[in-house]
């Protein structure tokens, strides 16, 4: 195809967008709504994935030291923990450090802690070499003299991972259904546009235009509608997510992914999906009218 012809198709494609203003609006709206929902699903799943990574990284054993253990015997206790089989690292967290961390986590609500003194015990954070051995290691840790109790959140993690997997599977099915619906909507709206332009196509064929030539502007038009239909929800999601990140304080192990990371990923997917939907929709619909 000559460059001149590509130029013509592009010009025509743009012109058609405006000439069929209302149909363009309908199509772009259909794409936008579909992609908005898709975008929400993507942002959710990105953050859920991040959450599960956070949780897995925090697969650790918190061993709380009995208050009766004097500070002088803490190094010895640390050594005996370190000597246990399957232990990777042991880190000491003093009552004071623990309190400070809690204050940080509570942020503006840190005042709640005032007047309570320090209710937190000294603590060893034990990491197992193999995360799957966390339970066994935790039992060993608990039976060590001087350790009052252990927490390793295994139950929580198991349940949590089950829920995450289920949510992710459901999201994938949901997204596929959405995409199919979106393509259906677009091809339908474009079909209506093309129906009103049937005469145009008929005349093009009668003066000797090839099918490829006739498809050209529709191809461009579909692409443009797809991109437009992706940028609108992209912008909405960007603003919404930015607002969410700045106004909601997440609590561990939850944390928001950065706005730029999320929007980069989401927008790329939305634009690709939009272009795919637009081109697919327009080509499928134009095919029927090429048989003159």
């Amino acid at each position: 195809m000559k460059i001149r012809t590509m130029g013509r198709h592009t010009r025509e494609g743009f012109k058609n967008l405006f000439r069929n203003g209302w149909m363009t609006f309908a199509s772009v709206s259909a794409v936008s709504v579909t992609l908005l929902i898709l975008g929400i699903a993507i942002i959710l799943s990105l953050n859920i994935q991040n959450l599960s990574v956070n949780v897995e990284n925090q697969l650790q054993i918190n061993a709380y030291v009995a208050d009766s253990v004097p500070a002088s015997s803490l190094p010895a206790l640390k050594q005996s923990l370190q000597a246990l089989p399957g232990v990777l690292t042991v880190k000491f967290v003093s009552k004071e450090q623990a309190l400070q961390t809690m204050r940080k986590q509570l942020q503006q609500n840190a005042d709640l802690l005032n007047g309570l003194g320090n209710p937190l015990p000294n603590e060893f954070v034990v990491q197992a070499i193999d995360p799957n051995q966390t339970v066994a290691v935790a039992h060993e840790v608990k039976s060590t003299t001087g350790i009052q109790s252990v927490q390793y959140g295994q139950d929580f993690i198991n349940k949590f991972l089950t829920v995450i997997t289920a949510v992710r599977d459901a999201a994938i099915v949901f997204i596929i259904v959405l995409l199919v619906m979106g393509i259906f909507l677009i091809s339908n709206t474009i079909k209506v546009t093309i129906f009103t332009r049937r005469r145009e196509i008929e005349i093009m064929k009668l003066v000797g235009a090839t099918d490829g030539f006739i498809r050209g502007p529709f191809f461009i038009e579909g692409t443009l509608m797809g991109v437009l239909g992706a940028l609108i929800p992209g912008f909405i999601l960007y603003e919404l997510y930015r607002w969410l990140v700045s106004s909601v304080t997440p609590f561990p192990p939850f944390s928001f992914l950065s706005t730029s990371f999320v929007i980069d990923r989401t927008l790329t997917i939305l634009i690709l999906c939009g272009i795919f939907m637009g081109i697919w929709g327009s080509l499928v619909s134009v095919r029927r009218f090429l048989r003159v």
Binding site: R4, L206, V207
Partner: protein
């Protein structure tokens, strides 16, 4: 130029539009196709630019074997044929000049060549000053002249016209006919299906009469021969 050998056309509903037509039209001929409504004139015309396919028989148009034409070759074949229609078939959203240029754009002609040819044919049909107007701003006769201009812009070897004067008053009908005669004088074959008795009788051209899907008369310097 155009040759049909024992051509039959049956539509899906079993109606036989043409039953064994054989005809030869030479380069530079001017042929009127006449006959009552529903006799098969339109089918005869449509077969020539492959809007319809024959059920049986052979059709050759300017070196193309129509029944063996591949889907991809149809556009190429049509570029050698100028088609003129009763309802003009102009694109309402394009200007007059754009409508004509359109037939050249599809063959990827250069902008310069397009501008030159459009100006030439506009002058030929006597509408040089209307290039920037839209079809709805023109009279029926003017619109049909644009239709003829578009058909001519590719320098086709044959013009096929289906009732080109069907919607026009006598004066405009004559204008279209004069145009065809001028083009014919330069060697372009003209095949024109028509109901216009005055035109046919005044011109003394070859007349092919079709009735019930068959050629019942084919005379040089013929008459219209019907009373409608």
């Amino acid at each position: 130029m155009i040759e049909m050998q024992d051509v039959w056309k049956e539509y899906g509903n079993g109606v036989a539009a043409l039953s064994g037509i054989s005809v030869q039209i030479k380069q530079g001929d001017f042929v009127f196709v006449v006959g009552p409504s529903g006799a098969g004139k339109s089918t005869f015309i449509k077969l020539m630019y492959r809007e319809e396919r024959p059920t049986k028989g052979h059709i050759f148009v300017g070196g193309f074997n129509i029944e063996k034409l591949r889907e991809r070759q149809i556009p190429i074949m049509r570029r050698h044929i100028g088609a003129v229609f009763q309802d003009y078939k102009l694109l309402p959203k394009l200007t007059v000049a754009e409508n004509i240029a359109f037939a050249l754009e599809v063959i990827e002609a250069s902008r310069r060549m397009i501008n030159r040819r459009v100006a030439e044919v506009l002058e030929l049909v006597g509408l040089s000053d209307k290039g920037k107007m839209f079809p709805r701003e023109l009279s029926g006769g003017e619109q049909q002249r644009i239709g003829v201009a578009r058909a001519l812009v590719n320098k086709p070897s044959v013009i096929i016209a289906d009732e080109p004067t069907g919607n026009l008053d006598p004066e405009n009908s004559w204008a279209i006919l004069k145009l065809f005669e001028r083009v014919n004088d330069q060697g372009t074959t003209i095949v024109m299906a028509t109901h216009n008795r005055e035109l046919v009788n005044a011109c003394k051209k070859r007349v092919i009469a079709i009735e019930n899907g068959q050629i019942v008369r084919d005379q040089e310097r013929g008459e219209y021969g019907y009373e409608d």
